[in-house]
Each structure stands twice: as structure tokens, then as C-alpha cells.
């Protein structure tokens, strides 16, 4: 029994290890020598972001253009100071500039309650 519990505990640790800790570091100042910002257009809709995965090189300045197809949503990059509100459908867009100067995987989550699947409304930013 003890061996079985330990084995299962190991698998849990392994699973969390694969998941990796969330990076709590915030972005640094924008590097003036870097090329122009990379524009990333993201559409929010109950209960997903499209695209749901953004991959950039370290040091990239990202200009997120955020729109919604329905209600207002949030756009929070967990572990950073980015936490913007996306206006409702046809009410314009929010532009967020973020310098991806730290490698890692960052969770993007909706920070404004938007309905039954709100807690699972997430995307991923990968900085290589």
C-alpha cells in the first residue's frame, strides 16, 4: 500500500513538474534597440481566446490588439502587471504592449467574469 501511495505521489509530482511553476516575474523596460513591435491580434469570446497560443522570441516587443465577439473580457498575463479589459463586441479594441524579456511559459487568463466557462478561459504565451 505504502509503495503504491509513493508511486502515485511520484506521478503527481511528475505531472506538476511537467506543468512547471508559473513564472511570477514581470516584464522589464522595452529595449530601444529591438525591432518594431510584433502585432498579435487576439479575439476573445466566451470562453476562449483565438489564437490560444502565442510563441515569441525572447526580447520581442509584442503589441496585443484585443477585441471581443461578445461581452467584455479580461486579459491578464499571470505573473506580470498586464491586466487589461477587452471592450464588448464592436466597441473598439484594447492595445497592450508587452516586452517578452523573460523566457518561460506565461498563462493568459480572463480576469473579468464572463459566464459559465470563465475559469477555464485561458491562453498561453511562450517566450523562447
Amino acid at each position: 500500500m505504502v509503495v503504491l501511495i509513493m508511486l502515485t505521489n511520484f506521478l503527481i509530482v511528475l505531472a506538476l513538474g511537467i506543468a512547471g511553476p508559473q513564472d511570477l516575474r514581470t516584464s522589464g523596460p522595452q529595449d530601444s534597440k529591438s525591432p518594431g513591435p510584433r502585432v498579435v491580434r487576439i479575439t476573445a469570446e466566451r470562453f476562449a481566446y483565438t489564437p490560444s497560443e502565442i510563441v515569441v522570441e525572447k526580447g520581442t516587443v509584442i503589441e496585443f490588439h484585443l477585441t471581443s465577439d461578445d461581452t467584455d473580457h479580461g486579459f491578464r498575463i499571470v505573473g506580470t502587471t498586464v491586466n487589461a479589459e477587452i471592450p464588448k463586441r464592436r466597441r473598439g479594441e484594447t492595445v497592450v504592449t508587452y516586452t517578452a524579456d523573460i523566457e518561460g511559459e506565461f498563462v493568459i487568463e480572463c480576469s473579468r467574469p464572463c459566464g459559465a466557462g470563465h475559469t477555464a478561459m485561458r491562453a498561453r504565451l511562450v517566450v523562447k
Binding site: 500500500m1 503504491l4 501511495i5 502515485t8 505521489n9 503527481i12 509530482v13 505531472a15 506538476l16 511537467i18 506543468a19 512547471g20 511553476p21 508559473q22 511570477l24 466566451r46 470562453f47 476562449a48 483565438t50 489564437p51 490560444s52 497560443e53 471581443s68 465577439d69 461578445d70 461581452t71 499571470v78 505573473g79 464588448k88 463586441r89 464592436r90 466597441r91 511559459e105 498563462v107 487568463e109 480576469s111 467574469p113 464572463c114 459566464g115 459559465a116 466557462g117 470563465h118 475559469t119 477555464a120 485561458r122 491562453a123 498561453r124
Partner: protein, 379 residues
Amino acid sequence: MISINRFHVFVSWNLAFLLVLLAIPAQAQPREGAPTLSGYMEVHLNKIEDRPAEADLHRFVLMVGHSFSDRIKFWSEVEVEHALVEGEEEGGEVAVEQAYIDLLLHRRLNVRAGMVLVPVGIINERHEPPTFHGVERTFVDTVIVPTTWRDVGVGAFGDLGRGVSFKAYVTPGLDATGFTAEEGIAGGRQQGSHADASAPAMTGRIEWRRGGLTAGASGWFGGSGFGLARLDIDAPTVGVGSLDARFRRDRLELRGQWSTVSISNAGDLNQALQARSGINPNIASRLLGAYGEAAMRVSPNAWTHELVAFGRYELFDTQKRMPDGYVPLAFLQRSALTGGLTYFPDPDVAFKFDVIKEHNKSSVVHAPWRVNAGVGWWF
């Protein structure tokens, strides 16, 4: 083989270990603050041919959420239906439709436990009034996929990348003693209230998004026989399958859904229920529903408010295939044509109007006209 007691010890230890691990990063991260409050309401005026018009505060729903940390989140939905609940009289309903904890482990694999929505079809998980056209939910999402379908459950969900996401839960099964010819399995939902979990069910959904297109395949499979324990029949097994798609670009919105329900041993079930009540329930072995809907924003681009016209055709046949010895009731082999308007003074407020002409295969029972008006909002 692990005995029951050992199994409990095994589960308890591992659950405690998992919670401790999750608690460590939770303590290291700031709390997000106070619980959030949101909700939706819908008020309807329904006129069915040859019946008096009826005004109804159909749904009053409050949602409370809370983030214990970036990895542990709570969400709930409490609903009052038809405005008034009275003891021992037919009236409204107070129900917990959702109350679950999400453990967000990884983008690809997260855990959800509590009262969950069965992830079948479009409407069951996306039922806020501004998200669909028509005053009432579709017939398919009423008598084939019985929304709002929820139960206590545990499972996983995640985003697999490339626009693909999934959900999979284990929940208690259905109670076949509540099945009917007219509304299929709707009356068999246990809804998380002292639910008999001896016949568990599996339910899941896989969804793909690209551009303005969302396509999904979903299903539910499980037992439904515990209510028949004293009757000498094989427990019916129920399977629900559904395919759906939504598309939105500029002024145009399209959506469609195909759903089917199969009930094994429906003949034995009918005999058992008839022996108990004296009435043949005429439950089918297969139900079928499908609809296609097109909607177009007809208001000028310069308007921030929107006027949308829509049309929908539905098939909803709760007697699609009968067990041997049973004849389908033709008036329950139905279809409906719906046309209407939705006016959005704000994307979260929808004034709705529609006209529905039902059809059925009966030469005796008349299928009525329906005229509906209503307003629904989300905050």
C-alpha cells in the same frame, strides 16, 4: 485488488498530497481579492395558439466566483426559475446549476470537481441569453439534449493546442423512471440532489476553433437503471451523441447541431413502467434532433447597437425508433420553423422576438403557432 477500506486510504493520501502540493504555490501568489458577482436574467411573453398569453420571469441567475489563487478557482451558478417557488405546488424552481472547483495544473490538463455542466451541444454550456437567438432555447436543446443538464462530477479539461480543447467528466447516471415519450431523458436527470452514483456515466467534449469557426463533438454514456432496482429488467444504458458548429464573420452568424439519444432495453423499460403506473410511457429506443440557423446583422455598421434577423429550422423527433412492439406517436415526430429578430442596445442586453410554426406527422393533433417576445441580459 485493493479492498474498499484500502482504496479509501489510498485515495485520501493521494488527495491530501495533491492538495498540499497545490497549496504551496497558492501561498506564494497574491490573492486576487473579493469574490466576483455576475448573472443573467430573462423575461418572456409567450403566446401559443389557442392558449392564453403567458408572461414569465423565466430565469433569474446569479453567479459567484472566487480565485483562491492563480491555480485554484471556484465558480457557481444559482438559478430561480419562474420567479416564485411555493411548497407542494407546481411553480418555480431554485437550483444550483454549477458549483465547482478548478485545479489549474497545466494548459493541457486541469481538474474540475463539483456540480458541473454536462458538456454536450452548444447551449448547455453557453446559455446566457445574449449568446443565442430566439426567446426560448431551441427545441433540440430542450427535448433531445435536456438543458440545463448538470450533475455532480469530477473530471479533466484542457487546451491541447492548435485550437483543440477537451472536457471529460465522470458523473452519476440517469434515472430511467423519469423518461417520457415527449421529453425523452429530461426527466431522468438527477441534478446533483442525492444522486444515485451506483451507475456512473462518462461525458466529454472535444472542440476545435479556427478563425470564426468553432466545431465540437460531444457525448454522454452511462447507466440509468437504479430507479428500477425492484423491477426485474436489465438496466437501460443511455448514449447521447452530438455534433455542432458555429461560425461568425462580420455580419453573418451560422450555427447547427445534430444530436441523438439511444436507450437500450426501451421495450423492457416501457413494460416495467407500465406495470408500475398502468400507463404505457411509449419511450423510444432512439431520439433525434437537429437544427440549422442563419443570422444576419441588418443594422448599419455606424450603429453601435445592433439589430439581427435570424431563421432556424429544427427537427426534434422523440419517437425516432421504437422498441419492438411499440408504435411511434406521430404528434411527437416534430419539426419547427422559426423566424425572428434580436435587438442588442448593448452586446449584453438582448430584446428578442420570434414566430414559430411547429409541424408534426400526426393527421389528428394540430401543431401550434407560437409567438414569443422577451428580454435577456447578462452582467
